[in-house]
Every structure is written in C-alpha cells, then in structure tokens.
Symmetry: C2
C-alpha cells in the first residue's frame, strides 16, 4: 500500500508536501490524488469525494493517508511526518535549536503568509460578479491580510542569512509562499520588502523539486457545480 496525498496544483500548502516528497526521494511511495473545487467553496460546504472526506473531516487539502492508515490533515504535520519518519531527518533535525529555528520559519510562511494569502483570496472572491452575496467584501480585511504578509516578509528579510545551505523544511515553506505571491499577487512587490530573500528565492526556485511543482489552476469539475469555472484560489487547506 502506498501513501495517498490529496492534492490540487493551486495549493501552496499542498506544494510544501510535494516539494518535500521530491527532496526526500519518496515519489514512488506516494499516490497523488487530485481534488477539484467549485467556486462556492469560499462560503459553502461543497460536495466532496467520499475518499477525501474519509481522509480529512476538515475537508481542506492537503491530507495524507499513510501506509499504516494514519490520516494527517495539515501541511506542516505532513511535512514533519515525511521528514521525521520516512526521511531520516534530512530536511530538519530531530531536536535542538536547529529544529525549532527551521520550524519557526515554517510557521511564519504557513500560518503567516500562506494563511493571509488564502484569507485575502477568499475575501476578494466575495465581491465577484457571480457571487450571490456581493456586499460581503471587506476592503479593510483585505488590507489587514496584506499587512500581515508584509510584516512576515520583513521578518524573513531580517533573517535572510538563514537562507543558505542545504534545503530544509523552512526553506521549502518560505519558497512556496514566495511563489504564491508571484502567482496570485504580482502587484504586491514583496521583492522590494525582501530583496535579499528574493535573491535566495530566485535560486531556490530552480531546484527540480520546485520546477516540477509550479503552481497551476485547479481543474474544474462540472459534476460538482454546474456553473463552476476554474477555481483560482490556492485557498483550500
């Protein structure tokens, strides 16, 4: 039995896992299970594949079902599992200052930048022409999320000297967060806030694990929602 990773190419949370899988050489042990998302996910419970719901009651991607039947339901836990249990701690040591330094970068990238990006995308979608509730959009909330992201990039810039040496879980998470800024918010100019980080990222993104996982739009599933169009959100964790 192989592991199953529930996936879309648009999710930066999921990309943390696919990059980690490639960096650890675990591709042959993981079946990638695509998921599709109708637009309505922003404000409604949408229909889910039963095997997906069986893997995660949260109904966000990524979700990993391990070879021994464990069900892991958030990207950071999945990456730690892959590294600690199957990857001989190649991308993060078992303990000590270095482990928590790396995981502190994962947290800023994930709970800080990626969550803020998703919340901003979800909020902006409330004002779309096809929204049933066009009044719900809050420009101040969008601004709040931009400011959160900006603060996080500023701290990563202050810590830019930590971005050297072999790939680790922190670099992977930060790299995926930088990529989403370029993919979803090209006007944000995070590179001005974090020029040294950007120089690191422009090298890091050339790794094969990153080039093989470039973000792309989530496929449409007309069976899930007759009026659905391609979902542009990376916001499904």
């Amino acid at each position: 039995m192989t592991m199953k990773l529930f996936y879309t190419p648009a999710s930066h949370f999921t990309r943390k896992c696919t990059v980690t899988i490639k960096e650890l050489g675990l591709e042959a042990r993981v079946e990638i299970v695509p998921t599709k998302w109708p637009h309505a996910w922003v404000t409604e419970t949408v229909p889910y594949r039963s095997d997906f719901l069986d893997a995660t009651p949260i109904a966000r991607i990524p979700a990993l079902v391990t070879e021994d039947g464990l069900k892991l339901t958030d990207s950071s836990t999945i990456c730690e599992y892959l590294n600690d249990e199957l990857g001989s701690y190649k991308l993060c040591p078992a303990r000590g200052h270095e482990r928590w330094r790396i995981l502190s970068l994962v947290s800023i990238a994930t709970s800080g930048i990626m969550e803020a990006q998703v919340m901003r995308i979800a909020e902006l979608r409330r004002k779309r022409p096809d929204s049933k509730q066009p009044q719900e959009f809050s420009s101040s909330f969008v601004q709040k999320m931009k400011e959160r992201q900006e603060r996080c990039f500023s701290v990563l810039e202050q810590r830019h000297e930590e971005f050297s040496g072999p790939a680790d879980l922190g670099q992977i998470a930060v790299g995926c967060a930088c990529a989403t800024s370029d993919f979803r918010f090209p006007d944000d100019q995070w590179r001005r806030t974090a020029p040294n980080l950007a120089r690191w990222y422009d090298e890091f993104r050339e790794r094969s694990s990153m080039r093989e996982t470039e973000p792309a739009e989530t496929p449409q599933d007309p069976d899930l929602e007759p009026t659905a169009t391609t979902l542009e959100a990376a916001g499904t964790e």
Copy 2:
C-alpha cells in the same frame, strides 16, 4: 531568562500551551504576558505592543519566545517544542505511529474545530450593531464552519476509544476545543454528536491543568481603541 508566552484567557489556541506547560510542570520557566485586543481585530490591523510584534510578525496569539531567543508563532509548534525539548516527550513520544496518531488529533482539534470556531466568531462579528460594515456577514459561511466542526466532532467520536490513558498533546487540544464549544456556542450540542467523547471530556476537564485555565473574556484595553468593549472572541491566533 525565562520564556515568554503571549496570551489571553479567551484563546483556546493559547490554552493548549498553558495546559501543556502545567502538565509538564514548566510554570516556573514561563512568564505569561497578557495581550489585549480591541474589537476591530476582526477586519483591521489593530495597534500591538511592540514586544508582541517583535515576537510574532503574524500578530496572533499564542507566541512563545524561548530561553535561547527562538520565536515560535503557532500553538501546535509551541506545544511540540515544550514536549519535545523541555518535557522529555511526556505528552507525545519522539517518533513512531503513536506520535503521529497524537498529532493527527491535535490537527483535527486545531486546524479543524478551533479554526472553524474562530472563523465563525469573526464572521458573526461582522454583523454586530457597532460594525462599520454590517452587510458583510455571510450566513452560508457560518453554516460551512458549523458543518466543518460537526464533521470533526463526528470523527473524534468514532475515535473515542483513543481518549484514555495518560494526558497527551492530542487530548489537550481536543479538550480545549470541547471547552470552547461550551463557552462560545452552547447551542451547538456537540455532545449529541459525540456522546462518548463528551463523557471523556467531562472527566478530563477536572484535571487541575484544565481547571486552572478555564476560558474567560479578554480584558479590554481602552488605550488601544477608545470605543473598544470586551472582546469576546477566542479568535486571535
């Protein structure tokens, strides 16, 4: 130098950390630093203490500054750090199936139930009489978050036999999630969905670590926002 934990008594995310500190007997090594939150946090960047922003660019609680200057910015990483680095793995073993089984419960409680509770509280606050943008409230989004929570409680009920034996990080996270349901959403009737889990919880909540950390409203800070009233949200991570 002691650790610093940025805190409010209303946050279930932070309570995971304070319960973990007590279960590990680390109280003397941690300074609890209160934070105050004006109502506007839901949709705006609000003023923060500079030491808080220095600890976390995400500007959510909890945040932990360790004795050696590490800054950890989400509750699950903080609890793992306390357990792994300072707690001799008392509440979760270092590796193997049992570690990931426990962390899978942490994830369902945290990324599932607690996040859904916070998102629901934040959404409901959009329609408050004192809101500047009373049109923004989405009843379908609130329903979506209730359904996420309900699915998570259903899975925890299916797994209720795992809730036995000594306290662990999974039980702590789930116990804090159950408590918030009682505190914030007494009409939800999660106990009907999860009667066996509820029986476990009613015993678990009597532990001194839980009794000493009962949720309470976040103190008001008139200096932060002249019109602020007590923030009732546990939603500041």
